[in-house]
Symmetry: C2
Subunit: 210 residues, 2 copies
DNA sequence: CCTAGGAAGTAACAATGGTTACATTGCCAT
DNA sequence: ATGGCAATGTAACCATTGTTACTTCCTAGG
């Protein structure tokens, strides 16, 4: 396990901390679609994302979803961090967008390390910083963009995190993430196709490189 | 100054830290409407809010605004925290909603204190935690509520933070905060008045207690 | 090869919110 | 008291998004 740890976190953490993580952390592989964190759940251990993509969702009062942001290599979920520290329930759902590898850290270690390791403090603060900024970007999208622009941004974000210009999702799945209806997504996708920004196929979309 | 510090922060910080804050902090009074932090600005010192209310805003590409949340006694701006640590520009604007008293802390002290004081670490983490949750609530409002519900929530939030069921704002000012137009606000306020939830007057609104 | 069911296309309509334009009202300063 | 201006009321219209109700198309599994 130390191998993948040093590869992905070696430039972030001190050696002593890497060793501790190696000691107390649990390696975990999850496959696409599996739920890592559920709303209302107490968090017993914090996930560091080694490889893969995780999507973080919010749920409304009817059980409908809204994508907040994607997590990539080296990221961790600030909401989770937040829950761990405060011993509160999770306010979000986290789902593996692709097959992913994680290192799970027991909660009690986290506070110790905050006092002990400067690199851990920086990592935690940096995590909060980027997650706040990502949430701000999410607010921008929802508040300031029209649905067609949000859709296009969503598709671009998706190609970026998966590093694949083919998006393997149905219109219904996209509609869930954007908190709208399948018909609206189909309508706007067709418009974007006519504008030459993408190609529509059954169960997948190919983004046109610009 | 130590007087107001102990009153409002005595239960949060250790004595030694309170003394340090007293040493290095600068007391500052600002009046309603003054801008504390501007978008794009680098932060040289971090404000602790002693008394008053601060509103935190986001701006779109046309310069139009959107209220993110209010800060109250004992709060600080997580976005600012975040900027201090990362030496990045502010992504938000902060404006005094009422006359307010602040203690300004030089940035370089903050990192020292993180290593040194457990109460400071807890405060910083707690701040991030609540700000993240407030941003999530903002996302909920924008994404899941219709404009009339958002408006009512806004008015209730406002009465809560100012502890005054009379809201001293014009429809235009409310429209700016909600990122909509004055006509829409007037229309919906009139609807809410007909529903018996509030009374409209010139330049102020009285909320009906339910 | 055929068929059932999921996925996508599309039309028609409703609801919400944004925009323009103008009328009315209250209030302050002179 | 009154003229002027900011604040509010309101109507009419438009654009966007949501909804319903179909049809058509594709593909996996028999």
């Amino acid at each position: 396990m130390i191998q993948e740890l040093t590869t992905y976190f070696g430039h972030i953490f001190e050696d002593a901390l890497l060793h501790e993580i190696n000691q107390v952390g649990t390696f975990k592989e999850v496959s696409e679609g599996s739920t890592l964190i559920e709303i209302g759940q107490y968090i017993k251990s914090m996930p560091l994302l080694v490889t893969g993509v995780i999507k973080v969702l919010r749920e409304d009062s009817h059980g409908d979803e809204l994508l907040l942001y994607f997590l990539e290599n080296g990221d961790t979920c600030a909401m989770t961090l937040s829950c761990c520290m405060g011993q509160t329930k999770s306010e979000v759902r986290a789902i593996a967008e692709t097959d992913s590898k994680l290192v799970m850290i027991p909660v009690q270690k986290m506070e110790e390390w905050l006092a002990q390791y400067k690199s851990w403090r920086n990592y935690v603060l940096e995590t909060y910083h980027s997650r706040l900024n990502e949430l701000l970007e999410t607010v921008d999208s929802i508040a300031f963009l029209k649905m067609d622009e949000r859709l296009l941004k969503y598709l671009h974000d998706k190609t970026r995190v998966t590093n694949d210009r083919i998006i393997h999702n149905t219109h219904q799945e996209i509609a869930y993430d954007l908190h709208t209806s399948r018909v609206v997504v189909s309508r706007l996708l067709k418009k974007l196709e006519n504008m030459g920004k993408l190609e529509l196929h059954r169960s997948h979309i190919t983004m046109v490189t610009h």
